[in-house]
Symmetry: C2
């Protein structure tokens, strides 16, 4: 494949132009890329036929196609994406927008996305917004400039809409898919888990074990996920005939540190709940740690449940009972839907993947 030694059988100058470069780059071999013309010449057809042989094989005679494929194999031709893109107005690139690339939660999702895109011949560009409006604006422009064919949004809002609901750059004219965090008023496919049902299920699980006082450690107040999970928590209480007690709601923001704070909050109380439902594993881990350091045993004294099932949930001490999100599958699904859109197929407007309740050792019946 790579043995691209020189092959100039015909005497006619294939290279008509003198590739003179101004720069004093005295490198070894410039190794000019194979162009469609070179393939055409070798296969003794026109460039149009080569192009068609690749894009619409059925419109080319069998012999011509064979000769073209042969020539391509011999030369190792790969179409120049810039040229192709310029003409056909497609980039075969997809933008993935997420709030924080270094967050563990996203990496497996990304992998699912990447896999699926790859198989369909698409590349993936990642945009880590990092809470920066400038970055967001840049990527909005980037997208508007036609640099990608579509985008998967993991950040919970459309471009340019971070502050005011009526952002300017909303008219991106390219297919979009929202993943994980639903985007309220956007008319784009949403891929997510059923947060409400999952939270409800965990709450009921705790109630069924006999817990009557179940605390809830929330996510950021405005967050879409948070709202759903909170609803699910209340659903679960209601279904278990338990009263809702606002004092049992501790506010957090999904981070480990906020879990630590929530733990300190609980420790400071005279009357502690027997179970705590944290809406992220990180918070659960931070909370468990704080409780343990204070001599409160988990789950003997207090049961703690998480949400997400990140890698370390299984390794934490005690191993965390939590809600498993099918992260890879979420990514795959979002990518599949986007590709369907890109290729003109119809797609469901909303897909909810199912979650699992994973029971480990951080939850037990109250004493």
């Amino acid at each position: 494949m790579g043995a691209s030694v020189k092959q100039g059988p015909e005497g006619q100058g294939i290279m008509d132009e003198v590739g003179r470069t101004g720069a004093a780059q005295a490198d070894d071999a410039p190794a000019r890329a194979v162009r469609i013309q070179d393939v055409a010449r070798l296969a003794e057809v026109s460039t149009a036929t080569v192009s068609r042989a690749l894009a619409t094989p059925e419109r080319v005679s069998v012999e011509a196609r064979a000769r073209v494929l042969e020539a391509i194999a011999r030369t190792g031709y790969v179409p120049n994406p810039a040229a192709r893109s310029l003409r056909s107005q497609k980039t075969y690139m997809v933008l993935v927008v997420l709030p924080d690339l270094s967050n563990t939660f996203f990496s497996k999702i990304l992998r699912g996305i990447e896999e699926t895109l790859f198989e369909a011949g698409y590349g993936m560009i990642i945009s880590d917004l990092d809470g920066s409006p400038e970055k967001e604006a840049h990527f909005a422009a980037f997208t508007a400039a036609g640099r990608v064919d579509g985008a998967i949004l993991l950040n919970g809002h459309l471009f340019g809409q971070s502050r005011d609901g009526k952002g300017s750059a909303a008219k991106l004219n390219i297919p979009l898919v929202a993943l994980c965090e639903a985007i309220p008023d956007a008319d784009i496919p949403q891929i997510e888990i059923d947060n409400r049902a999952a939270a409800r299920r965990m709450t009921q699980h705790l109630a069924q074990l006999g817990h009557r006082s179940i605390a809830y450690v929330s996510g950021p107040a405005q967050n879409v996920l948070e709202r759903e999970r909170f609803r699910g928590y209340r659903d679960g209480l209601r279904a278990s005939a338990l009263p809702f007690d606002p004092d049992l709601v501790v506010s957090g923001d999904y981070t480990l540190e906020s879990g630590v704070r929530a733990g300190e909050d609980l420790l400071a109380r005279a009357k502690r709940p027997t179970a705590v439902f944290c809406t992220s594993d990180e918070m659960a881990i931070g909370l468990v740690r704080t409780l343990s350091s204070a001599g409160v045993r988990v789950p003997e004294d207090i049961s703690v449940a998480g949400f997400d099932d990140i890698e370390f949930a299984a390794v934490a001490q005690p191993a965390l009972t939590t809600i498993h999100q099918p992260r890879r599958e979420l990514g795959q699904t979002a990518a599949t839907v986007l590709i369907d859109l890109l290729q003109g197929r119809t797609t469901p407007k909303r897909i909810r993947l199912k979650t699992d309740l994973i029971t480990r050792n951080s939850v037990s019946s109250p004493r």
Copy 2:
């Protein structure tokens, strides 16, 4: 993973399709992108001047430049990357090749890379090799097709060289940078930490606390990092006047599971070491967990040290004493070096970033 009892979901459907989205955008305005011509017309200059105003401002009169910028601001013009790329043979895209995107260790590095590339106006394309030679071949072709200007390799080898040392696709003709895992015979800049010095330091640290019997849990045998760290371990022993005992070397592969196995190995021994140096945090966590479950206390009975300082090292019980790798900075540095290369500047051939020894609670003096 042992303790995970999986429970089936309640009666919710896998796919909950609510409504459908048509593929056709049915848009109001086609919103044809602004071209350089439009800007030129508005600014009453030629397209050449517009182009120059952006690329080489010093070659354009102040007034003309002002008019051009004004026109650009008014129209919201963004150059078409395909066209620019086609003509200038640059893509402003960098490929990042890594073995496993879902591995926690890489995400912060990626973030550092992304940040730096972004600031320099480059985009990032991620290639998760996933151990697949086909994927690797694809990306080699992708790269050869001129789809990216340069690449950062986190996978420890050049394209196409996974098996035989003399890979075919080595002649990529584009700037490359190796990050974290040095690539032995490649003549490209290497960005890494000083694995040997770090391992030595940790070993000496343990010895200074009074440990005489320090076990070593290794990475995969052929791994470059492993070799360096192993050398460092022996350096540390020597510097502390401790003998090297092959029995104290337990083989692992950086995964959590191999840490668990290493733990079982140690538990089975009649005579246990007083300290264990694991060459990854994941292994250390798996090992600690196994020891704890067996009633062996860390650090009272056995001290355990890790390597990497991943997020959960600080949260583990006990919090892990480990070697901190400046991951974000590693990414930033690699990106900076690559950009320097891309822009024709000279770069150091090898950069070693400093590591820190983080002392937490998993290590103490032996009793």
